[in-house]
Amino acid sequence: MTTAVRAKGSQKTGIDWFLTVLRVGLLSIVVFGLFAFVWQQIDNQNPLASWLNPDATGLTADQFKGLVVTGLSQGAMYGLIALGYSMVYGVLGFINFAHGEVFMLGAFSGFITSTKLDQAGWWEDYFLASVFFSVVVAILVSTMAAVVMEKVAYRPLRGSPRLIPLITSIGVSFFIQNAVIVLFGPGAKSYPRLPDWLTDRYSIVTFEIEGTKIMVLVVASLSMAGLWYFVERTKTGKAMRAVAEDREIAALMGIDVNRTIVTTFAVGGAMAGVAGILWGLLFKSVIATTGFLPGIKAFTAAVVGGVGNLGGAMAGGVSLGSAEALAPLMLLEPLGIDGVSQLRDAVAFTLLILVLLIKPTGLFGEKLSGDDRA
């Protein structure tokens, strides 16, 4: 942050006061809404609730648990996408805006493979094998897309002013989105039907969870564990961390920087591919613009957790997903705002602004290469 340039304790200007007011205002909405919600849960007819929102009914325990599970599973997918943003930002110091499209390509290739398998009759008969195959295809396609992207669009721009690769990645994102529209048509594509045992609800420690959501959580945790092992325990992972720490010194130590950067993109792409197919299986449909919002939100998740910090990305994703699911009903509904569920996306963006205003390095701290460190 450029605030570092300013001397500590220098004169407060108008903008500082404004920012303070904004911080306090946003935080007090959070605190006040939460307070109103809790009071409402205890006593539905309390004076505060009837003043703000006389129709408020509060949430039942089941509704609350449902929201938590939805938030967690959604957040796990954000986290998986966020890993790609985070790793690339850690190594190259730029936001790969097109990473959301990598995720979308994963979801899309998953759709194509699964419908083809369904037409052949294998989806129902050999469900697990089919899903496994679709996941492999999705990972391959996403990885390829990320690697090609790096090679064609970003490598020639390495070392140019910071905003240039960002603008290029906006172009890449726009291009991929529209290429998918012209190649495969603009309509929404539906995944084939899932078997009943996967869509049924299961009761786990008083939580009623749909099978698909369990699957999302399990697969996301496994992928995260795999990634953790890869980054922390293998030689390639060590090289990645070294390049993220300091590219030039890493090169002097004999690390092939280009190859490591490609690996970073590939690994990020693979994670996005996994997230893509999970998204498809959970929401059962995919469209060319699927990648945009989850992409931006995953970036938000990466910032919330601290850019360059892998555990932080996952934690940021989960917190963002939960905040998005819970905040409209827990914070905004008690304040008497209409149609709160429409504001889900606005909540996500407001969280991004809030985190950047209050703790710009994210909840768990940034891990960036020397040049980018604030």
């Binding site: 942050m1 340039v5 200007t13 905003l163 290029t168 012209v182």
Partner: protein
């Protein structure tokens, strides 16, 4: 010298050329050939050729659909022979080698298309690929047999590739002539509706001058068609069912080639003489040029039909937006991806202020609105509101890193759209139903500018565009403008020089917001309704492409960008001249953005200072080669950042 030895010499030379002709850089040829093949297959499968086939470029010879594919072999054939001549090295001699390389690249690309033809013939992949259709097959096989198509594509692409490569063999002057011939023919064909409208209108007015006076009468009565004096010319150039006639194309090409050969020097000379002038003389010439352009634009609607006026009005609306974004991105170097927010605020606030029946549940504590504000007063309030929103959005983001700022502004853009769409503010803005029946811009005695009368909107846009251009131009040369550029180049240094960077950047946000709100206000008056769906992030990105392709930080560049992109391809919802392209325009915008960033980040008409910043390394290298810079002293870290971390 005897005849025999002479023949021997010639034969030897031919042999040498032939031997050299296949001495290619095969790896490069393979790479470009495969790239071409991929591009061609992608375009074929995108459905572009089939849907553009209806539009002829030259009647009976080539349609826009085929052109969309055949434009690539020459370009890649040319590129494969291009080489960077480094300091101290000499360029290789051009010869048959280049043409052969071009042919190989083209043919290899053609092989990909041929394989596609065979695949489409034998398999059905229409399920995921929507354009895998019999029409595609018949187009790709030129409505002949599949075998014919297979052979034809390889040869055709090869020949086109060779033709592109052959440009290397021409002298620069001839090459320019050939290129301008091709561009003229394609351009005149693409601009058919515009030229038809304009030339026809002028011709009609000459044939029947009385109709000019009717211009001031009732705005909307369609005038009867009169035989234009130029009907003969138009009929000669354009074929009945669209596209150029063959004879017309030949004549146009000859004229363009002749003009290019004879006139090239003159334009350069005029430009040089203009640049050489200084002081009042230059100001005088600039003033004359501006006056001529203004008069031309003012009289233009006398001669043109609705379509041209509508088109120009759309161009103007996006020009206003682009000028505003140019100040934010081009001058101050702040990448604002949520620029559409200000456009939305402008549209909505003027709509709410001027509409006669306010939204259903307009809250009691606000004064009732029943359109008692005049349009100008409403515009004033709108501008103030937009400025305030600019401050509000700008203040929290101003100290963020440049790339974080981009994403956060994008978030703000989405938040504002979501709020307009939501029930939470539905009482004010009618949520998804939007606000309809917005009256036009009322200027009292001058009349009302409303969308039903495109001419009035054209003048409204023209007036605001003139104001905005003037404001941008003055600002660029003001103290504030110089402060913006200083901040863009190096924020820390700017701060050290005593610039209050925070205030300066906030001002950029505010000015940008005000210009965008002009555009929003005009759109409300033009369309008569606003809906939240008109303010997608897409709009921000298209404006960004316009600014970047035109040339960041250069008003002329922004003008050129808006005319070329919005005029030809069209805006997010507005059709351009190539209405057939509407399905593909976003794809083309994306591709253009990538290509510009990789090849020419300073834009088509660059701002000199900006382009120096972007090519700092190259300038330093040049200076180093000339021995001007002591390498020990250059500080490479501080200079390479647009926005310092």
């Amino acid at each position: 010298m005897s005849m025999a030895t002479h023949v021997d010499d010639v034969l030897e030379e031919i042999e040498e050329v032939a031997r050299g002709a296949f001495d290619l850089n095969w790896q490069r040829v393979l790479r470009f050939g495969n790239l071409l093949g991929l591009a061609l297959v992608f375009i074929a499968l995108s459905g572009m050729p089939v849907s553009l086939d209806k539009r002829e470029v030259i009647d009976g010879i080539i349609s826009l659909g085929y052109l969309a594919m055949l434009v690539f072999p020459p370009i890649l054939g040319w590129t494969v022979g291009k080489e960077v001549v480094l300091e101290g090295m000499t360029a290789t001699k051009r010869g048959a080698r280049d043409v052969v390389a071009g042919f190989m690249v083209g043919a290899l690309g053609g092989v990909w298309v041929s394989i596609l033809v065979l695949l489409v013939d034998n398999y059905n992949l229409r399920d995921p690929l929507v354009n895998w259709s019999p029409e595609l097959l018949s187009l790709l096989s030129f409505s002949e047999s599949v075998g014919f198509g297979v052979v034809a594509w390889i040869l055709l692409c090869g020949v086109f590739g060779a033709a592109g490569a052959a440009l290397h063999l021409l002298t620069p002057k001839l090459r320019r002539a050939v290129i301008s011939m091709i561009l003229t023919v394609v351009g005149v064909s693409i601009f058919q509706s515009l030229i038809d409208d304009l030339v026809g209108g002028i011709g009609e007015s000459i044939a029947d001058p009385g109709r000019l006076s009717e211009f001031f009468g009732e705005a909307d009565t369609p005038r009867p068609r009169v035989d234009s004096v130029f009907d003969g010319v138009i009929d000669f150039i354009y074929a009945q069912r669209g596209g150029l006639t063959i004879a017309g194309a030949i004549v146009l090409a000859l004229i363009a080639g002749g003009l290019s050969l004879s006139g090239r020097g003159r334009i350069a000379k005029a430009k040089a003489s203009y640049n050489a002038k200084t002081g009042p003389e230059r100001t005088k010439q600039t003033a004359i040029m501006i006056a001529v352009a203004t008069v031309l634009l003012i009289v233009l609607p006398f001669f043109t039909g609705r379509i041209t006026q509508e088109l120009l009005a759309n161009v103007g609306i996006f020009l206003l937006l682009a000028l505003g974004l140019n100040i934010v991105v081009g001058l101050a170097g702040i990448l604002d991806l949520g620029y559409v927010a200000f456009f939305a605020v402008g549209s909505y606030s003027i709509a709410v202020l001027t509409v006669e029946n306010p939204p259903e549940s307009w809250p009691d504590w606000l004064p009732t609105l029943d359109g008692q504000f005049g349009w100008l007063l409403a515009l004033l309030i709108t501008v103030v509101l937009a400025g305030l929103v600019g401050l509000f959005i700008g203040a929290p983001v101003i100290r963020m890193r440049g790339d974080y700022l981009a994403i956060v502004t994008l978030g703000f853009g989405e938040i504002i759209r979501i709020l307009f769409l939501s029930d939470a503010l539905g009482g004010y803005f009618n949520a998804a139903q939007g606000i309809t029946q917005i009256p036009g811009a009322d200027f009292g005695p001058l009349g009302v500018a409303h969308g039903t009368n495109p001419r009035s909107i054209f003048y409204l846009v023209l007036a605001f565009a003139a104001i905005s251009i003037y404001v941008s131009w003055r600002l660029e040369r003001s103290r504030l403008g110089r402060a913006w550029m200083a901040v863009r180049e190096d924020e820390s240094v700017a701060e050290a020089m005593g610039i209050n960077t925070v205030n300066v950047k906030l001002m950029a946000f505010v000015v940008g917001a005000v210009l965008a709100s002009f555009s929003g206000a005009i759109v409300s008056a033009k369309v008569g309704s606003v809906f939240p769906t008109s303010f997608l992030i897409l709009v921000s990105i298209i404006i960004l492409v316009v600014v970047i392709v035109g040339g960041m930080g250069n008003i002329l560049g922004v003008l050129a960008g808006s005319f070329v992109l919005i005029g030809v391809l069209g805006g997010p919802r507005q059709p351009g001249l190539l209405a057939e392209f509407s399905e593909y325009k976003l794809l083309i915008y994306g591709a253009l953005l990538i290509w510009m960033m990789l090849q020419r980040p300073e834009g088509l008409i660059p701002n000199v200072r900006r382009s120096r910043e972007l090519h700092q390394d190259e300038f330093l290298q040049d200076a180093w080669l000339k021995g001007e810079v002591d390498t020990e002293e250059d500080d490479e870290t501080s200079a390479t950042e647009v926005a310092p971390a």
